[in-house]
Symmetry: C2
Subunit: 278 residues, 2 copies
């Protein structure tokens, strides 16, 4: 097994604001930068009641690059009205991404437990197709994120890299690609092949890091810090690099445990774990 | 969408003893039979300190048919000693199945979080191949059960029907097939196709029922009774029947909530839910 080159600095490290949930956007920017991290993925709720120009100034003052806006999607619903509302919300998210200077909008596709996964996938395709012209107009790319199958009843009917690739390719646009989150896809024996396929199509838009704890206590908010779980992060990073990925390493950890503690200390732990395990 | 014919009686209903965990084996047999259920799948721990002949007499007295013994497997390990121990345990399980008159041993394949899923799959194949001669000698069939990917770190590296079919076919024996448990595979957009493939190969050995609650509180023991969740049971049963499956409908529910309550009442609820939703 060939591992990729060791990571020696934080230049490609990015943190999702939700990782340090107790902080507001300004605290995230200041504290990430203070730890030597200059890439950030912004969760949308932190933009509420903020002025985009002011945020861009703070970002610039801290030499902070926005990697992605998180998250659009949730296109699947058996109710046409909800599908329309989702499209309107995604158009808004695309505007927010442009205002923030985020080149990518992460798309969590959605699912409706009252219909089959196949029906949800069709609605997701239609939803993305509907917002594609607006994304194209401002040059915001859409990264379809396959979620773990344990979220198939509500958050996403797209639960494998293969499905994400099929969907992205079917939409036939350079603006539509895939976000590879190790937490969601590590278990898949087809992962190496599908990452290769995605890279060959020029569709590897994002790479999210965390770890899968073997004794998880919560279905949503008990993700592990890199090294705390069973995911072979270096191997997956190697597959990404072989497939041509040169983007950011985005740490996205939802953890009731870490959110209870000191967030500055958590960021330092993230930097250490990133250099050691990613 | 064509649904299959409605179920009008309990003749194909089978219950896994773990569904009514507070009961010992005699209580399971007596109470299932008392509710008009004459098929049972027996979990191995209930056989400890029992006499197989005595159990077979009780089964016969209640016109109870054993559908399967649950469970063998756990073949994957990075430690050769553990792999050998697993093989020995599976040989014992095959003997138990023969003694009990169970035609099928359910195989939960195992996984080792310290190695890649691909390595685990190779060890699983080797493990099953090792016990196949013993199974063949007594005519016990081995049903590979793909588990939900949320169990990929410990219980099974086989997490899709496609993987189970690939594995079963690679072992090239009429004695090796697949157990389809709706809880584990419902989310998969390839499910219909893979059930069809499995049936065409004569490998649909078992069909397990429960439901996936959209707000699950426990990763292991919060399964729903049929109708409490989002799985389209009738549609999946239709695919099974189209693929030629004529076996039992095995209810397997792990639920801290139901285990706390009156088990006789739970069995009555199972019968009602089965007739209504399965």
């Amino acid at each position: 097994m060939d591992y990729p080159a060791t990571i020696n600095d934080l230049s490609r490290l990015c943190i999702h604001t939700q990782t340090t949930r107790p902080w507001d956007l300004r605290q995230c920017i200041e504290n990430y930068a203070g730890s030597g991290i200059h890439r950030i993925s912004v969760w949308r709720h932190l933009l509420e009641n903020t002025d985009p120009k002011g945020i861009r100034r703070i970002l610039k003052d801290h030499a902070m690059e926005v990697v992605s806006l998180v998250r659009g999607g949730f296109f699947a619903s058996s109710h046409p009205g909800q599908r329309e509302a989702a499209i309107a919300d995604n158009l808004e998210a695309i505007r927010e991404a442009e205002a923030l200077g985020a080149p990518v909008l992460v798309v969590v596709c959605g699912a409706d437990p009252g219909q089959s996964p196949v029906e949800s996938v069709d609605q997701i395709r239609e939803g993305i197709a509907s917002v594609l012209p607006a994304a194209s107009e401002v040059g915001v790319r859409l990264a379809i994120e396959p979620l773990h199958p344990m979220y198939a009843a509500g958050r996403s009917a797209i639960v494998t890299m293969k499905q994400a690739n099929d969907l992205a390719e079917s939409l036939d646009s350079d603006l539509v690609g895939v976000a590879v989150d190790v937490f969601h896809v590590w278990w898949d024996v087809e992962l190496e092949r599908e990452i290769g396929r995605c890279g060959a199509a020029g569709k590897l838009f994002a790479f999210h890091l965390s770890d899968w704890k073997t004794e998880m206590t919560d279905l949503l908010n008990d993700r592990g810090l890199m090294g705390e779980g069973c995911i072979d992060l270096k191997r997956i990073r190697g597959w990404m690099e072989q497939a041509g990925f040169e983007g950011s390493h985005e740490v996205e950890i939802f953890s009731n445990r870490y959110w209870k503690g000191n967030q500055g200390e958590f960021v330092r732990k993230i930097c250490d774990a990133y250099l050691k395990h990613a």
